[in-house]
Protein backbone atom coordinates (compact mmCIF):
# COMPACT_ATOMS: atom_id res chain seq x y z
CA UNK A 1 0.00 0.00 0.00
CA UNK A 2 1.39 3.35 -1.01
CA UNK A 3 -0.20 5.48 1.68
CA UNK A 4 2.07 8.26 2.86
CA UNK A 5 1.37 9.79 6.21
CA UNK A 6 2.69 13.25 6.76
CA UNK A 7 3.70 14.14 10.28
CA UNK A 8 0.49 15.91 11.24
CA UNK A 9 -1.15 14.25 14.19
CA UNK A 10 -3.73 11.61 13.38
CA UNK A 11 -7.14 13.02 14.11
CA UNK A 12 -9.05 11.42 16.93
CA UNK A 13 -12.30 13.18 16.29
CA UNK A 14 -14.10 10.22 14.87
CA UNK A 15 -13.35 7.81 17.63
CA UNK A 16 -12.20 9.94 20.54
CA UNK A 17 -13.62 12.99 22.27
CA UNK A 18 -14.08 16.25 20.40
CA UNK A 19 -11.17 18.63 20.18
CA UNK A 20 -11.25 22.36 20.63
CA UNK A 21 -10.97 24.52 23.70
CA UNK A 22 -14.62 24.09 24.61
CA UNK A 23 -16.38 21.05 25.84
CA UNK A 24 -18.39 19.87 22.86
CA UNK A 25 -21.49 18.95 24.79
CA UNK A 26 -21.48 22.41 26.25
CA UNK A 27 -20.87 24.22 23.00
CA UNK A 28 -23.42 22.30 21.02
CA UNK A 29 -26.59 22.87 22.88
CA UNK A 30 -27.72 26.25 21.69
CA UNK A 31 -28.82 25.09 18.27
CA UNK A 32 -31.22 24.43 15.56
CA UNK A 33 -33.52 21.56 16.11
CA UNK A 34 -32.26 18.58 14.21
CA UNK A 35 -35.54 18.11 12.38
CA UNK A 36 -35.92 21.39 10.52
CA UNK A 37 -38.77 23.59 11.63
CA UNK A 38 -42.37 22.50 11.49
CA UNK A 39 -45.01 25.20 11.31
CA UNK A 40 -48.67 24.45 10.64
CA UNK A 41 -47.72 20.96 9.62
CA UNK A 42 -45.28 22.17 6.98
CA UNK A 43 -41.61 21.41 7.48
CA UNK A 44 -39.02 24.07 6.64
CA UNK A 45 -35.26 23.95 6.34
CA UNK A 46 -33.31 26.04 8.82
CA UNK A 47 -32.12 29.26 7.18
CA UNK A 48 -28.90 31.12 7.88
CA UNK A 49 -27.81 30.83 11.48
CA UNK A 50 -24.92 31.68 13.77
CA UNK A 51 -23.09 28.68 15.20
CA UNK A 52 -20.03 28.26 17.42
CA UNK A 53 -16.62 27.36 16.10
CA UNK A 54 -15.12 24.35 17.82
CA UNK A 55 -11.60 24.54 16.42
CA UNK A 56 -9.46 26.04 13.71
CA UNK A 57 -6.14 24.45 12.84
CA UNK A 58 -3.62 24.61 10.05
CA UNK A 59 -3.12 21.34 8.17
CA UNK A 60 -0.53 22.66 5.80
CA UNK A 61 0.83 26.01 4.70
CA UNK A 62 -2.34 27.95 3.79
CA UNK A 63 -4.65 24.98 4.34
CA UNK A 64 -7.05 25.21 7.27
CA UNK A 65 -9.45 22.86 8.98
CA UNK A 66 -12.37 24.64 10.63
CA UNK A 67 -14.85 22.74 12.80
CA UNK A 68 -18.29 24.10 13.67
CA UNK A 69 -20.97 22.76 15.91
CA UNK A 70 -24.38 22.52 14.29
CA UNK A 71 -26.61 19.59 15.11
CA UNK A 72 -28.90 20.00 12.14
CA UNK A 73 -26.08 19.98 9.63
CA UNK A 74 -24.31 17.12 11.38
CA UNK A 75 -27.41 14.96 11.26
CA UNK A 76 -28.54 15.78 7.75
CA UNK A 77 -25.43 16.34 5.68
CA UNK A 78 -24.57 13.67 3.12
CA UNK A 79 -21.39 13.27 1.03
CA UNK A 80 -20.89 16.01 -1.60
CA UNK A 81 -23.23 18.41 0.12
CA UNK A 82 -21.77 21.74 1.02
CA UNK A 83 -22.47 24.70 3.28
CA UNK A 84 -22.23 28.46 2.85
CA UNK A 85 -20.00 30.19 5.37
CA UNK A 86 -20.17 33.95 5.83
CA UNK A 87 -17.63 36.52 7.00
CA UNK A 88 -18.43 39.06 9.72
CA UNK A 89 -17.31 41.77 7.34
CA UNK A 90 -19.92 44.11 5.90
CA UNK A 91 -17.73 44.69 2.86
CA UNK A 92 -17.77 40.95 2.07
CA UNK A 93 -21.30 39.74 2.24
CA UNK A 94 -21.39 36.96 -0.33
CA UNK A 95 -21.54 33.29 0.64
CA UNK A 96 -18.38 31.18 0.69
CA UNK A 97 -19.38 27.60 -0.20
CA UNK A 98 -17.30 24.71 1.19
CA UNK A 99 -17.69 20.98 0.92
CA UNK A 100 -18.74 19.25 4.13
CA UNK A 101 -15.81 17.13 5.26
CA UNK A 102 -16.02 15.16 8.50
CA UNK A 103 -18.98 14.79 10.82
CA UNK A 104 -18.53 13.83 14.45
CA UNK A 105 -21.47 14.07 16.81
CA UNK A 106 -22.83 17.57 16.34
CA UNK A 107 -19.59 18.77 14.81
CA UNK A 108 -18.93 19.38 11.14
CA UNK A 109 -15.51 20.08 9.67
CA UNK A 110 -14.43 21.98 6.57
CA UNK A 111 -11.01 22.08 4.94
CA UNK A 112 -10.12 25.03 2.80
CA UNK A 113 -7.24 26.86 1.23
CA UNK A 114 -6.66 30.52 1.98
CA UNK A 115 -7.18 32.04 -1.45
CA UNK A 116 -8.79 35.41 -0.77
CA UNK A 117 -10.34 37.73 1.74
CA UNK A 118 -13.01 35.43 3.13
CA UNK A 119 -10.87 32.37 3.64
CA UNK A 120 -8.20 34.59 5.21
CA UNK A 121 -10.75 35.83 7.71
CA UNK A 122 -12.02 32.34 8.48
CA UNK A 123 -8.45 31.23 9.13
CA UNK A 124 -8.14 33.97 11.78
CA UNK A 125 -11.19 32.78 13.68
CA UNK A 126 -10.84 30.95 16.96
CA UNK A 127 -12.60 28.29 18.96
CA UNK A 128 -15.55 29.89 20.67
CA UNK A 129 -16.11 32.53 17.98
CA UNK A 130 -19.36 32.33 16.09
CA UNK A 131 -19.79 31.98 12.36
CA UNK A 132 -22.85 32.23 10.14
CA UNK A 133 -23.72 29.17 8.08
CA UNK A 134 -26.38 27.96 5.68
CA UNK A 135 -26.75 24.32 4.80
CA UNK A 136 -26.36 21.49 4.12
CA UNK A 137 -26.92 22.41 0.47
CA UNK A 138 -26.96 20.52 -2.80
CA UNK A 139 -27.35 16.88 -3.77
CA UNK A 140 -25.20 13.98 -2.71
CA UNK A 141 -23.10 11.33 -4.41
CA UNK A 142 -25.10 8.28 -5.32
CA UNK A 143 -23.72 5.72 -2.86
CA UNK A 144 -26.73 3.45 -2.95
CA UNK A 145 -25.11 0.50 -4.67
CA UNK A 146 -24.41 -1.82 -1.71
CA UNK A 147 -21.59 -3.80 -3.29
CA UNK A 148 -19.85 -1.18 -5.40
CA UNK A 149 -16.15 -0.48 -5.03
CA UNK A 150 -15.67 3.32 -4.71
CA UNK A 151 -12.56 5.05 -5.92
CA UNK A 152 -12.26 8.56 -4.52
CA UNK A 153 -10.14 10.68 -6.81
CA UNK A 154 -9.39 14.09 -5.37
CA UNK A 155 -7.07 16.92 -6.27
CA UNK A 156 -5.91 19.65 -3.89
CA UNK A 157 -8.79 21.24 -2.04
CA UNK A 158 -11.26 18.94 -3.77
CA UNK A 159 -10.74 16.29 -1.12
CA UNK A 160 -13.30 17.31 1.57
CA UNK A 161 -16.40 15.78 -0.08
CA UNK A 162 -14.41 12.62 -0.76
CA UNK A 163 -13.42 12.41 2.88
CA UNK A 164 -17.10 12.71 3.75
CA UNK A 165 -17.86 9.94 1.26
CA UNK A 166 -15.18 7.75 2.86
CA UNK A 167 -16.58 8.46 6.30
CA UNK A 168 -20.12 7.71 5.16
CA UNK A 169 -19.09 4.43 3.56
CA UNK A 170 -17.03 3.57 6.63
CA UNK A 171 -19.91 4.31 8.97
CA UNK A 172 -22.24 2.18 6.87
CA UNK A 173 -19.76 -0.70 7.13
CA UNK A 174 -18.21 -0.39 3.67
CA UNK A 175 -14.74 0.91 4.53
CA UNK A 176 -13.10 -1.95 2.72
CA UNK A 177 -14.86 -0.81 -0.45
CA UNK A 178 -13.07 2.55 -0.78
CA UNK A 179 -9.77 3.59 -2.26
CA UNK A 180 -8.68 7.19 -1.87
CA UNK A 181 -6.45 8.59 -4.58
CA UNK A 182 -5.53 12.10 -3.55
CA UNK A 183 -3.27 14.31 -5.61
CA UNK A 184 -1.46 17.05 -3.72
CA UNK A 185 0.70 19.91 -4.78
CA UNK A 186 3.26 19.07 -2.12
CA UNK A 187 2.27 17.97 1.38
CA UNK A 188 -0.12 15.07 1.79
CA UNK A 189 -2.21 16.99 4.27
CA UNK A 190 -5.41 14.93 4.14
CA UNK A 191 -4.03 11.40 4.17
CA UNK A 192 -4.23 11.03 7.92
CA UNK A 193 -7.80 12.26 7.90
CA UNK A 194 -9.11 10.02 5.15
CA UNK A 195 -7.00 7.23 6.57
CA UNK A 196 -9.42 7.01 9.47
CA UNK A 197 -12.14 5.88 7.11
CA UNK A 198 -10.34 4.04 4.36
CA UNK A 199 -7.43 1.68 4.72
CA UNK A 200 -6.49 2.05 1.07
CA UNK A 201 -5.06 5.53 0.62
CA UNK A 202 -2.84 5.97 -2.45
CA UNK A 203 -1.83 9.59 -2.56
CA UNK A 204 0.60 11.36 -4.80
CA UNK A 205 2.18 14.77 -5.11
CA UNK A 206 3.38 16.82 -8.06
CA UNK A 207 6.87 15.38 -7.88
CA UNK A 208 5.50 11.88 -8.00
CA UNK A 209 3.00 12.27 -10.83
CA UNK A 210 -0.72 12.74 -10.88
CA UNK A 211 -3.89 10.86 -10.09
CA UNK A 212 -3.98 9.30 -13.55
CA UNK A 213 -0.61 7.69 -12.84
CA UNK A 214 -2.20 6.05 -9.82
CA UNK A 215 -5.32 5.05 -11.73
CA UNK A 216 -3.13 3.50 -14.42
CA UNK A 217 -1.33 1.50 -11.78
CA UNK A 218 -4.69 0.15 -10.58
CA UNK A 219 -5.81 -0.89 -14.04
CA UNK A 220 -5.06 -4.58 -13.73
CA UNK A 221 -6.41 -4.71 -10.20
CA UNK A 222 -9.69 -3.13 -11.22
CA UNK A 223 -10.19 -5.50 -14.14
CA UNK A 224 -10.23 -8.36 -11.67
CA UNK A 225 -13.01 -6.92 -9.53
CA UNK A 226 -16.42 -8.26 -10.37
CA UNK A 227 -18.30 -5.69 -8.28
CA UNK A 228 -19.29 -2.49 -9.99
CA UNK A 229 -16.56 0.17 -9.77
CA UNK A 230 -17.62 3.80 -9.23
CA UNK A 231 -15.28 6.75 -9.32
CA UNK A 232 -16.18 9.79 -7.21
CA UNK A 233 -14.05 12.77 -8.06
CA UNK A 234 -13.53 16.38 -7.08
CA UNK A 235 -10.69 18.67 -7.98
CA UNK A 236 -9.42 20.99 -10.69
CA UNK A 237 -11.46 20.75 -13.87
CA UNK A 238 -8.58 19.45 -16.04
CA UNK A 239 -8.01 16.66 -13.54
CA UNK A 240 -11.68 15.73 -13.47
CA UNK A 241 -11.85 15.72 -17.26
CA UNK A 242 -8.82 13.45 -17.41
CA UNK A 243 -10.49 11.13 -14.91
CA UNK A 244 -13.69 11.16 -16.98
CA UNK A 245 -11.76 10.20 -20.10
CA UNK A 246 -9.79 7.49 -18.31
CA UNK A 247 -12.94 5.99 -16.80
CA UNK A 248 -15.20 6.23 -19.83
CA UNK A 249 -12.69 4.45 -22.01
CA UNK A 250 -12.89 1.61 -19.45
CA UNK A 251 -16.64 1.72 -18.98
CA UNK A 252 -16.32 2.82 -15.36
CA UNK A 253 -19.08 5.01 -13.89
CA UNK A 254 -18.02 8.43 -12.61
CA UNK A 255 -19.63 11.08 -10.45
CA UNK A 256 -18.07 14.51 -10.29
CA UNK A 257 -18.44 17.10 -7.61
CA UNK A 258 -18.31 20.49 -9.34
CA UNK A 259 -17.62 23.97 -8.12
CA UNK A 260 -18.88 27.21 -9.59
CA UNK A 261 -19.03 30.77 -8.27
CA UNK A 262 -22.29 31.07 -6.39
CA UNK A 263 -24.72 33.85 -5.66
CA UNK A 264 -26.95 32.07 -3.15
CA UNK A 265 -26.03 28.38 -2.92
CA UNK A 266 -29.65 27.27 -2.53
CA UNK A 267 -31.06 27.52 -6.02
CA UNK A 268 -32.70 30.90 -6.19
CA UNK A 269 -30.41 33.05 -8.36
CA UNK A 270 -29.27 30.95 -11.36
CA UNK A 271 -25.71 32.22 -11.00
CA UNK A 272 -23.89 28.89 -10.62
CA UNK A 273 -24.75 27.05 -13.80
CA UNK A 274 -22.86 24.38 -15.69
CA UNK A 275 -23.50 23.15 -19.20
CA UNK A 276 -24.92 19.64 -19.26
CA UNK A 277 -26.43 17.56 -21.99
CA UNK A 278 -29.79 18.60 -20.55
CA UNK A 279 -28.93 22.29 -20.76
CA UNK A 280 -27.54 24.67 -18.15
CA UNK A 281 -28.09 23.34 -14.67
CA UNK A 282 -27.65 24.96 -11.25
CA UNK A 283 -24.58 23.46 -9.58
CA UNK A 284 -25.91 24.36 -6.14
CA UNK A 285 -29.32 22.76 -6.43
CA UNK A 286 -29.19 20.28 -9.30
CA UNK A 287 -25.56 19.49 -8.42
CA UNK A 288 -22.89 19.72 -7.23
CA UNK A 289 -22.76 16.06 -8.33
CA UNK A 290 -22.99 15.29 -12.05
CA UNK A 291 -22.00 12.21 -14.00
CA UNK A 292 -19.47 12.34 -16.81
CA UNK A 293 -22.33 11.52 -19.11
CA UNK A 294 -24.43 14.47 -17.97
CA UNK A 295 -21.44 16.76 -18.41
CA UNK A 296 -20.62 15.39 -21.85
CA UNK A 297 -17.13 14.65 -20.56
CA UNK A 298 -17.05 11.05 -21.68
CA UNK A 299 -15.33 11.57 -24.96
CA UNK A 300 -13.49 14.78 -24.15
CA UNK A 301 -9.93 15.05 -23.09
Amino acid sequence: MSTQFIPTQIKQRHTGPAKGSHDASDICRCHEPSEGIVVNGESYLPARRSVPIVSVRQLDQGVIELVICDRYMAEHARPAQFANLFTHDGLRLMPRPFGICEICGDEVSFIFAIVGAGTAQFAQMKAGDSIDVLGPLGKTFDLTSPDARYILVGGGLGVPPLIQAAQYLHDSGRENRTTAIFGYRKHHFADSIVGQYSDDVRSIDEEQGNVITVLDSMDAELRQISDPVVILSCGPTPMMKAVAFWASSRGIATQFNLEERMGCGYGTCVVCVVDTIHGRKKVCLEGPVFTAQELGWESER
Binding site: V39, Y44, G90, L93, M94, L134, Y266, V271
Partner: protein, 329 residues
Protein backbone atom coordinates in the same frame (compact mmCIF):
# COMPACT_ATOMS: atom_id res chain seq x y z
CA UNK B 1 -26.23 68.34 19.63
CA UNK B 2 -29.76 69.29 18.74
CA UNK B 3 -29.68 66.43 16.30
CA UNK B 4 -28.95 63.69 18.79
CA UNK B 5 -31.89 61.42 19.49
CA UNK B 6 -32.26 58.14 21.27
CA UNK B 7 -34.57 56.58 18.74
CA UNK B 8 -32.54 55.71 15.66
CA UNK B 9 -33.85 52.34 14.66
CA UNK B 10 -31.14 51.26 12.27
CA UNK B 11 -29.48 48.81 14.55
CA UNK B 12 -32.56 47.34 16.06
CA UNK B 13 -33.56 45.88 12.73
CA UNK B 14 -30.16 45.06 11.38
CA UNK B 15 -29.61 42.08 9.14
CA UNK B 16 -29.76 38.80 10.99
CA UNK B 17 -30.16 40.35 14.39
CA UNK B 18 -33.77 39.32 14.45
CA UNK B 19 -34.52 36.82 17.12
CA UNK B 20 -38.07 36.26 15.99
CA UNK B 21 -38.75 32.59 15.53
CA UNK B 22 -39.80 31.22 12.19
CA UNK B 23 -42.94 30.05 13.93
CA UNK B 24 -43.86 33.64 14.78
CA UNK B 25 -42.75 34.98 11.44
CA UNK B 26 -45.02 32.54 9.65
CA UNK B 27 -48.06 32.65 11.87
CA UNK B 28 -48.52 36.08 13.44
CA UNK B 29 -51.20 38.19 11.77
CA UNK B 30 -49.96 41.05 9.58
CA UNK B 31 -50.82 44.43 11.00
CA UNK B 32 -50.00 46.79 8.17
CA UNK B 33 -51.12 45.88 4.65
CA UNK B 34 -50.76 48.01 1.55
CA UNK B 35 -52.35 48.30 -1.87
CA UNK B 36 -50.29 48.57 -5.05
CA UNK B 37 -52.12 49.54 -8.22
CA UNK B 38 -55.34 48.19 -6.78
CA UNK B 39 -53.84 44.88 -5.70
CA UNK B 40 -53.87 44.23 -1.95
CA UNK B 41 -50.56 43.12 -0.40
CA UNK B 42 -50.67 41.67 3.10
CA UNK B 43 -47.55 43.66 3.91
CA UNK B 44 -45.45 46.14 1.90
CA UNK B 45 -42.54 43.75 1.29
CA UNK B 46 -42.12 41.62 -1.81
CA UNK B 47 -39.27 39.57 -3.18
CA UNK B 48 -37.33 41.07 -6.10
CA UNK B 49 -37.16 39.37 -9.45
CA UNK B 50 -34.21 37.10 -10.06
CA UNK B 51 -33.60 36.44 -6.41
CA UNK B 52 -36.76 34.45 -5.83
CA UNK B 53 -37.37 30.95 -7.13
CA UNK B 54 -40.41 29.26 -5.70
CA UNK B 55 -38.95 25.78 -5.49
CA UNK B 56 -35.80 27.02 -3.78
CA UNK B 57 -37.42 29.50 -1.41
CA UNK B 58 -40.52 27.60 -0.35
CA UNK B 59 -38.27 25.05 1.32
CA UNK B 60 -37.34 27.77 3.82
CA UNK B 61 -40.59 29.65 4.41
CA UNK B 62 -44.21 29.97 3.38
CA UNK B 63 -44.00 32.28 0.38
CA UNK B 64 -47.65 33.25 0.78
CA UNK B 65 -46.56 35.36 3.76
CA UNK B 66 -44.83 37.87 1.49
CA UNK B 67 -46.61 41.00 0.33
CA UNK B 68 -45.92 39.68 -3.14
CA UNK B 69 -43.32 37.61 -4.94
CA UNK B 70 -41.79 38.77 -8.19
CA UNK B 71 -40.62 35.85 -10.29
CA UNK B 72 -37.47 35.55 -12.37
CA UNK B 73 -37.86 37.29 -15.74
CA UNK B 74 -39.90 35.06 -18.07
CA UNK B 75 -39.25 35.11 -21.80
CA UNK B 76 -41.35 33.62 -24.56
CA UNK B 77 -38.81 30.86 -25.22
CA UNK B 78 -36.15 29.48 -22.88
CA UNK B 79 -33.00 31.61 -22.58
CA UNK B 80 -29.68 30.13 -21.60
CA UNK B 81 -28.20 33.33 -20.19
CA UNK B 82 -24.54 34.34 -20.10
CA UNK B 83 -21.47 32.16 -19.63
CA UNK B 84 -19.99 31.68 -16.16
CA UNK B 85 -18.59 33.09 -13.89
CA UNK B 86 -21.75 35.11 -13.44
CA UNK B 87 -21.02 36.75 -10.12
CA UNK B 88 -18.30 38.66 -8.34
CA UNK B 89 -18.26 40.19 -4.92
CA UNK B 90 -18.19 43.96 -4.53
CA UNK B 91 -17.84 46.05 -1.36
CA UNK B 92 -21.15 45.58 0.48
CA UNK B 93 -22.71 44.07 -2.62
CA UNK B 94 -22.45 41.82 -5.60
CA UNK B 95 -22.33 42.15 -9.36
CA UNK B 96 -24.10 39.53 -11.44
CA UNK B 97 -24.48 38.74 -15.10
CA UNK B 98 -27.04 35.95 -15.21
CA UNK B 99 -28.43 37.35 -18.44
CA UNK B 100 -31.99 36.31 -17.70
CA UNK B 101 -31.47 32.58 -17.99
CA UNK B 102 -34.95 31.11 -17.65
CA UNK B 103 -36.78 28.04 -18.88
CA UNK B 104 -39.34 30.08 -20.82
CA UNK B 105 -43.03 30.85 -20.57
CA UNK B 106 -44.36 27.34 -21.13
CA UNK B 107 -42.33 26.00 -18.27
CA UNK B 108 -43.39 28.92 -16.11
CA UNK B 109 -47.07 28.35 -16.83
CA UNK B 110 -46.79 24.62 -16.28
CA UNK B 111 -44.70 24.75 -13.11
CA UNK B 112 -43.87 27.93 -11.20
CA UNK B 113 -47.14 29.81 -11.57
CA UNK B 114 -49.46 26.96 -10.55
CA UNK B 115 -47.17 26.09 -7.67
CA UNK B 116 -47.16 29.70 -6.48
CA UNK B 117 -50.92 30.04 -6.72
CA UNK B 118 -51.45 26.73 -4.97
CA UNK B 119 -49.29 28.03 -2.14
CA UNK B 120 -51.39 31.18 -1.98
CA UNK B 121 -48.77 33.69 -3.10
CA UNK B 122 -49.52 37.12 -4.50
CA UNK B 123 -47.68 36.73 -7.80
CA UNK B 124 -45.91 39.34 -9.87
CA UNK B 125 -44.75 37.85 -13.15
CA UNK B 126 -41.58 39.56 -14.27
CA UNK B 127 -41.49 39.75 -18.07
CA UNK B 128 -38.34 39.74 -20.20
CA UNK B 129 -37.80 40.17 -23.91
CA UNK B 130 -35.28 40.92 -26.63
CA UNK B 131 -37.78 42.87 -28.72
CA UNK B 132 -41.19 44.46 -28.43
CA UNK B 133 -42.61 41.37 -30.06
CA UNK B 134 -41.09 39.15 -27.34
CA UNK B 135 -42.70 41.18 -24.58
CA UNK B 136 -46.02 41.30 -26.41
CA UNK B 137 -46.17 37.56 -26.78
CA UNK B 138 -45.51 36.92 -23.12
CA UNK B 139 -47.98 39.53 -21.92
CA UNK B 140 -50.64 38.31 -24.34
CA UNK B 141 -50.36 34.74 -23.11
CA UNK B 142 -50.43 35.87 -19.49
CA UNK B 143 -53.65 37.85 -20.00
CA UNK B 144 -55.91 35.06 -18.74
CA UNK B 145 -53.45 33.40 -16.39
CA UNK B 146 -53.79 33.64 -12.62
CA UNK B 147 -50.84 35.93 -11.91
CA UNK B 148 -51.79 39.03 -10.00
CA UNK B 149 -49.49 41.65 -11.50
CA UNK B 150 -47.00 41.99 -14.33
CA UNK B 151 -43.60 43.60 -13.93
CA UNK B 152 -42.12 44.57 -17.28
CA UNK B 153 -38.35 44.39 -16.99
CA UNK B 154 -36.92 46.96 -19.38
CA UNK B 155 -33.83 47.46 -17.31
CA UNK B 156 -31.66 44.35 -17.29
CA UNK B 157 -28.07 45.41 -17.93
CA UNK B 158 -27.08 41.88 -18.92
CA UNK B 159 -28.89 41.28 -22.18
CA UNK B 160 -27.72 42.90 -25.35
CA UNK B 161 -30.98 43.55 -27.16
CA UNK B 162 -34.14 44.73 -25.48
CA UNK B 163 -33.56 44.81 -21.74
CA UNK B 164 -31.86 47.98 -20.66
CA UNK B 165 -31.80 49.54 -24.11
CA UNK B 166 -35.58 50.01 -23.95
CA UNK B 167 -35.46 51.20 -20.38
CA UNK B 168 -32.99 53.96 -21.14
CA UNK B 169 -34.88 55.44 -24.07
CA UNK B 170 -38.10 57.25 -23.24
CA UNK B 171 -39.50 56.97 -26.75
CA UNK B 172 -38.83 53.28 -27.16
CA UNK B 173 -40.25 52.65 -23.71
CA UNK B 174 -43.41 54.64 -24.44
CA UNK B 175 -43.93 52.63 -27.57
CA UNK B 176 -43.46 49.27 -25.87
CA UNK B 177 -45.62 50.03 -22.83
CA UNK B 178 -48.35 51.47 -25.03
CA UNK B 179 -48.40 48.26 -27.03
CA UNK B 180 -48.58 46.15 -23.89
CA UNK B 181 -51.31 48.32 -22.42
CA UNK B 182 -53.46 47.53 -25.43
CA UNK B 183 -53.31 43.82 -24.81
CA UNK B 184 -53.59 43.42 -21.06
CA UNK B 185 -55.86 44.54 -18.27
CA UNK B 186 -53.56 43.16 -15.62
CA UNK B 187 -51.96 45.66 -13.28
CA UNK B 188 -48.73 46.46 -15.07
CA UNK B 189 -45.61 47.54 -13.21
CA UNK B 190 -42.73 48.88 -15.29
CA UNK B 191 -39.30 48.23 -13.79
CA UNK B 192 -36.88 51.05 -14.46
CA UNK B 193 -33.14 51.24 -14.89
CA UNK B 194 -30.94 53.58 -12.84
CA UNK B 195 -28.40 53.79 -15.66
CA UNK B 196 -29.99 56.92 -17.12
CA UNK B 197 -29.47 60.66 -17.10
CA UNK B 198 -33.13 61.54 -16.65
CA UNK B 199 -35.13 59.05 -14.62
CA UNK B 200 -38.12 61.37 -14.41
CA UNK B 201 -38.44 61.58 -18.17
CA UNK B 202 -38.32 57.80 -18.44
CA UNK B 203 -40.81 57.35 -15.62
CA UNK B 204 -43.22 59.79 -17.23
CA UNK B 205 -42.96 57.99 -20.54
CA UNK B 206 -43.92 54.71 -18.88
CA UNK B 207 -46.82 56.26 -17.00
CA UNK B 208 -48.08 58.18 -20.03
CA UNK B 209 -48.11 54.98 -21.99
CA UNK B 210 -50.26 53.25 -19.41
CA UNK B 211 -48.08 51.79 -16.67
CA UNK B 212 -50.11 51.19 -13.50
CA UNK B 213 -47.05 51.30 -11.27
CA UNK B 214 -43.28 51.68 -11.41
CA UNK B 215 -40.67 49.57 -9.70
CA UNK B 216 -37.17 50.92 -9.30
CA UNK B 217 -34.36 50.30 -9.42
CA UNK B 218 -32.85 47.45 -11.35
CA UNK B 219 -29.11 46.95 -10.98
CA UNK B 220 -26.39 49.48 -11.80
CA UNK B 221 -23.78 48.52 -14.37
CA UNK B 222 -20.55 47.42 -12.69
CA UNK B 223 -17.65 45.00 -12.86
CA UNK B 224 -14.65 43.56 -11.02
CA UNK B 225 -11.22 42.66 -12.31
CA UNK B 226 -9.04 39.80 -11.13
CA UNK B 227 -5.70 41.44 -10.40
CA UNK B 228 -3.88 38.15 -10.74
CA UNK B 229 -4.90 37.70 -14.35
CA UNK B 230 -5.67 41.32 -15.18
CA UNK B 231 -8.98 40.17 -16.67
CA UNK B 232 -12.61 40.89 -15.70
CA UNK B 233 -14.02 38.31 -13.28
CA UNK B 234 -17.39 38.04 -15.02
CA UNK B 235 -17.36 36.14 -18.28
CA UNK B 236 -19.76 38.82 -19.55
CA UNK B 237 -17.23 41.50 -18.39
CA UNK B 238 -19.85 43.81 -16.89
CA UNK B 239 -22.91 42.95 -14.84
CA UNK B 240 -25.46 44.51 -12.53
CA UNK B 241 -24.52 45.72 -9.05
CA UNK B 242 -26.96 45.09 -6.21
CA UNK B 243 -26.93 44.85 -2.43
CA UNK B 244 -26.53 47.36 0.42
CA UNK B 245 -23.99 49.37 -1.58
CA UNK B 246 -26.69 50.68 -3.94
CA UNK B 247 -29.15 51.58 -1.21
CA UNK B 248 -28.65 55.38 -1.06
CA UNK B 249 -28.58 55.61 -4.84
CA UNK B 250 -31.77 53.61 -5.32
CA UNK B 251 -33.50 55.58 -2.58
CA UNK B 252 -32.83 58.85 -4.37
CA UNK B 253 -34.32 57.46 -7.58
CA UNK B 254 -37.55 56.66 -5.75
CA UNK B 255 -37.54 60.09 -4.11
CA UNK B 256 -37.06 61.91 -7.40
CA UNK B 257 -39.74 59.96 -9.25
CA UNK B 258 -42.19 60.39 -6.37
CA UNK B 259 -41.63 64.17 -6.39
CA UNK B 260 -42.31 64.33 -10.12
CA UNK B 261 -45.22 61.88 -10.16
CA UNK B 262 -47.20 62.21 -6.94
CA UNK B 263 -49.83 59.61 -7.78
CA UNK B 264 -48.22 56.64 -9.46
CA UNK B 265 -47.73 53.61 -7.22
CA UNK B 266 -44.02 52.95 -6.72
CA UNK B 267 -42.21 49.84 -5.54
CA UNK B 268 -38.81 50.72 -4.10
CA UNK B 269 -35.97 48.27 -4.75
CA UNK B 270 -32.29 48.31 -3.98
CA UNK B 271 -30.08 47.31 -1.09
CA UNK B 272 -32.78 46.65 1.47
CA UNK B 273 -31.43 44.50 4.25
CA UNK B 274 -33.62 45.36 7.20
CA UNK B 275 -36.98 46.83 8.14
CA UNK B 276 -35.50 50.26 8.71
CA UNK B 277 -34.15 50.33 5.15
CA UNK B 278 -37.63 49.44 3.90
CA UNK B 279 -39.04 52.25 5.98
CA UNK B 280 -36.71 54.75 4.33
CA UNK B 281 -38.27 53.80 0.99
CA UNK B 282 -41.76 54.32 2.36
CA UNK B 283 -40.75 57.78 3.59
CA UNK B 284 -39.21 58.46 0.18
CA UNK B 285 -42.65 57.85 -1.27
CA UNK B 286 -42.79 54.16 -2.13
CA UNK B 287 -46.01 52.18 -1.64
CA UNK B 288 -44.09 48.95 -1.18
CA UNK B 289 -40.62 47.49 -1.60
CA UNK B 290 -38.94 44.43 -3.05
CA UNK B 291 -35.97 42.67 -1.47
CA UNK B 292 -33.30 41.27 -3.79
CA UNK B 293 -29.69 40.56 -2.88
CA UNK B 294 -30.45 40.19 0.84
CA UNK B 295 -32.28 36.96 -0.04
CA UNK B 296 -29.08 35.58 -1.54
CA UNK B 297 -27.42 35.92 1.85
CA UNK B 298 -30.26 34.40 3.81
CA UNK B 299 -33.26 32.69 2.26
CA UNK B 300 -35.69 34.09 4.80
CA UNK B 301 -34.39 37.68 4.68
CA UNK B 302 -37.46 38.96 2.80
CA UNK B 303 -39.82 37.54 5.43
CA UNK B 304 -37.69 38.83 8.31
CA UNK B 305 -37.63 42.29 6.74
CA UNK B 306 -41.41 42.22 6.31
CA UNK B 307 -41.80 41.37 9.99
CA UNK B 308 -39.39 44.09 11.08
CA UNK B 309 -41.23 46.65 8.98
CA UNK B 310 -44.58 45.48 10.32
CA UNK B 311 -43.31 46.20 13.83
CA UNK B 312 -41.74 49.53 12.91
CA UNK B 313 -45.02 50.68 11.41
CA UNK B 314 -46.77 50.19 14.76
CA UNK B 315 -45.15 53.41 15.94
CA UNK B 316 -46.10 55.22 12.72
CA UNK B 317 -49.88 55.02 12.49
CA UNK B 318 -50.18 57.90 10.05
CA UNK B 319 -47.87 56.28 7.53
CA UNK B 320 -49.44 52.87 8.10
CA UNK B 321 -52.89 54.26 7.46
CA UNK B 322 -51.85 55.88 4.21
CA UNK B 323 -50.27 52.66 3.00
CA UNK B 324 -53.35 50.68 3.94
CA UNK B 325 -55.37 52.94 1.69
CA UNK B 326 -52.93 52.70 -1.20
CA UNK B 327 -51.62 56.21 -0.62
CA UNK B 328 -48.06 57.19 0.23
CA UNK B 329 -46.13 59.42 2.58
Amino acid sequence: MGERTMTTAIERTDALSSSQSLQDMLTLPWKHPTIVAGVPWKNPVGTASGTFNVEACSRFYDVAQMGAVSTKGVSIIPWEGNPTPRTAETPAGTVNSVGLQNPGLDHYLANDLPMLKRMGANVITNVAGHSDEDYIQVVERLADKPCDMLEINVSCPNVSHGGMSVGTDAKALHHLIGALRNITDKPMIVKLSPNVTDIVGIAKAAVDAGADALSLINTLVGMRINTTTGRPILANITGGVSGPCIFPIALSFVWRVRRALPDIPIIGIGGISNGDNALEYLYAGANAVEVGAAALLDPIAPLRIARELDDLLDARPELAEKLAEGRTW
